[in-house]
């Protein structure tokens, strides 16, 4: 790669650091801090702080179409493994680092309740998860992506399983389905490797120019889409998600729900539009149509199921399925605005969902319950958390000035440009449904006749401890900031990246 120096740190090393720093942190904790909770927590916060700084550096370096590439050991692709981030990759890397830091600052208090004495292992596993997710965000190599996908998944299975009891069962199901997904992905990679003899994304895209469309290529795309679809829980491959999110410890739920599925969505985006599309646009059309239909089904089913839930975590899990449907819809339509909306929704939904899970964790911590009913009087007993709940829910529904509004706006523009008013109708209908179930929460929190705010809370104090409240507030603030600065993010990071800039506007994807 061209030496690409900025300041005294070689910017080309940023993507490597994004992976290596949390990985080192995880190993250090596992080696030195088992049984030493405070040291483990300090190490975790320090490493994820460095990670966030590196991600912000990547954001700056990758704005306005910048790209950072680095080939391990100087072996350039197709012989070696390369990492490569563009604006979208940097955006997702920043999402991962930001959400992770917030969750890690938040977690000591609640872990003391939910996982006494196991905190260091929890931190080590979470950092491993963060390292793997960053690896998926930065890698340019399809097989390398598989390895990071599996490292991250294994960390996620254990993080779900430490919930104990039913959580172990949920985790085993997640493991079965997740590994099947990864296997399908690997099968797709095998087909591409057989067709092109390469594993580097850009290199495969180049080689595919010479390859005629064939059954093998269709099989490759279908297997890759099924594999990543299982990991990102596109309907009807979402069966593992509600149980896994519900029974995991609160901090783990926030981390997994906020990040895991988004990074798989990023991988799907790169495979479809970075690897296959440049050479075989027409082949992608029917597959895109199927993804659109599944996305719509996920939106409708997820929203309807969310309305029926009484457990807040389960409600959030089903609303995740609906939002992953939105992302799939955008990726399936495949014109520039729809994909921009999908990418923006990865960030918006990642932040909003992590914030909501942190708030529900806070309720569990302070009130000892996370049912919709126990929200009654939340506006008085935990006013700041309730305010953050409103902001995050606004983003989930898609109301201005939050980030969710921008995401939905671009998605709707994409639907209309593609001449698909039927999809527009689905998006609007699901917005109404999500407004219904979130307004139900507001009603309980602020206007309920029942009022538990006078009840003695499980833990005294006016609100949550500051270390729990600050990450929640930061999440809510980030949602508004993203909503207000949406043009900066979209123009400088998303639309300037080659992946999206190469997509057509308008009806023909």
């Amino acid at each position: 790669m061209q030496p690409h120096r900025e300041g005294f740190v070689d910017a080309a090393l940023i993507p490597v650091g994004l992976v290596v720093v949390p990985l080192t942190g995880a190993l250090l904790i596992a080696a030195t801090s088992i049984g030493a909770t405070r040291r483990a927590h300090a190490l975790t916060v320090i490493t994820s702080g460095i990670n966030l700084a590196a991600a912000l550096g990547a954001l700056i370096a990758c704005s306005d179409g910048g790209v950072i590439e680095y080939a391990y050991g100087g072996w350039r692709p197709p012989f070696g493994i390369a990492v490569r981030i563009d604006g979208i990759g940097a955006l997702i890397a920043a999402l991962i680092a930001g959400v992770a830091l917030a969750v890690f600052i938040y977690s000591p208090q609640i872990l003391r309740v939910e996982l006494p004495r196991d905190e260091p292992s929890f931190f080590a596993m979470s950092l491993l998860l963060v390292a793997a997710l960053q690896g998926m965000a930065v890698t340019a190599d399809l097989f390398n992506l598989y390895v990071f996908l599996e490292i991250g998944s294994l960390a996620a299975y254990t993080l779900v399983a430490v919930g104990g009891g039913v959580a172990t069962l949920a985790s085993f199901r997640y493991l079965l389905i997740g590994t099947v997904g990864a296997s399908f992905y690997l099968l797709g990679v095998a087909y591409l490797f057989a067709l092109t003899g390469s594993l580097n994304g850009a290199d495969i895209a180049q080689a595919l120019m010479e390859v005629a469309p064939s059954a093998a290529l269709v099989a490759a795309v279908v297997f890759l889409a099924i594999g990543l679809g299982l990991k990102m829980a596109i309907f009807p491959m979402h069966g593992w998600l509600p149980d896994a999110y519900t029974y995991a410890p609160s901090a783990a739920s926030a981390l997994i729900a906020g990040l895991m599925t988004k990074v798989s969505a990023l991988a799907l985006l790169r495979v479809l539009y970075g690897v296959i599309q440049p050479a075989h646009r027409s082949l992608l059309l029917p597959i895109g149509d199927v993804i659109v239909i599944l996305g719509c089904a996920g939106i409708v089913v997820g929203s309807l199921m969310a309305v029926a839930q009484r457990d807040l975590k389960r409600l959030l899990a089903y609303s995740s399925i609906a939002h992953l449907g939105f992302i799939a819809l955008g990726l399936g339509i495949g014109n520039r605005d729809a994909v921009t909306g999908a990418v923006f929704n990865m960030v918006a939904h990642g932040v909003a969902k992590a914030t909501l899970f942190l708030i529900v964790g806070g309720m569990t911590y302070r009130l000892g319950s996370r049912s919709v009913k126990s929200l009654a009087g939340l506006g008085r007993s935990m006013p700041l958390s309730a305010a953050a709940l409103v902001i995050a829910a606004f983003s989930m529904i898609g109301l201005p000035p939050t980030a969710g509004f921008t995401a939905k706006w671009y998605l709707i523009m994409g639907c209309l440009e593609a001449d698909r008013p039927d999809l527009f109708a689905v998006v609007v209908a699901s917005t109404l449904l999500s407004a219904w179930y979130f307004l139900r929460l507001f009603e309980a929190a602020f206007f309920s006749a029942e009022d538990h705010s006078a009840d003695e809370p499980l833990r005294a104090g006016w609100e949550l401890p500051v270390s729990m409240l600050a990450p929640i507030a930061a999440g809510a603030a980030a949602l508004i900031a993203l909503g207000l600065a949406n043009q900066t993010v979209i123009v400088r990071l998303i639309e300037s990246s080659a992946l999206v800039a190469g997509l057509a506007r308008g009806a023909t994807p």
Binding site: F143, Y146, V147, E150, L154, Y157, T158, A161, G164, G165, V166, T168, L169, S171, F172, L175, L176, T179, V180, A182, S183, L186, L187, A190, F193, A194, L199
Partner: protein
């Protein structure tokens, strides 16, 4: 047809193994049997990769100047699958740990009984 079978023998074998493994995951009601199905499926994909590296009459990929024109096996799929095997072993390890936990907690690994007892 028999020609097609003979010339693409390894693909038929891996396809059969993947289908068997997938059947085990979907149809079996015992968690250990589901895990065995999963392992069969992963192994099939590993075999598929390895079979792609074969060159008829090929030899070990160590360049030997004294033998010009030698045909070499492709080393890359082997290296990749070494990693994939590690992933598979790690997955199996985590899965067994989970199964032990589940058995301790619920006293069974039959899915139907687990559904009843986890309520």
């Amino acid at each position: 047809m028999s020609d097609l079978f003979a010339s693409r023998f390894e693909y038929w074998m891996t396809t059969a193994l993947i289908v068997i493994g997938f059947y085990g995951i979907v149809a079996k009601r015992n968690l250990v049997k589901q895990l065995i199905g999963l392992n069969i499926m992963q192994t099939a994909i590993i075999l598929l990769f390895i079979s792609m590296s074969v060159q008829p009459g090929g030899t070990v990929p160590i360049i030997d100047a004294s033998r010009s024109g030698a045909i070499y096996m492709s080393p890359l799929p082997h290296v990749l699958m070494l990693t994939a095997i590690v992933v598979m072993v790690a997955t199996a390890g985590v899965a067994f740990a989970l199964l032990i936990r589940i058995h301790r907690r619920f006293g069974t690994l039959e899915e139907d009984e687990l559904l009843e007892r986890s309520r």
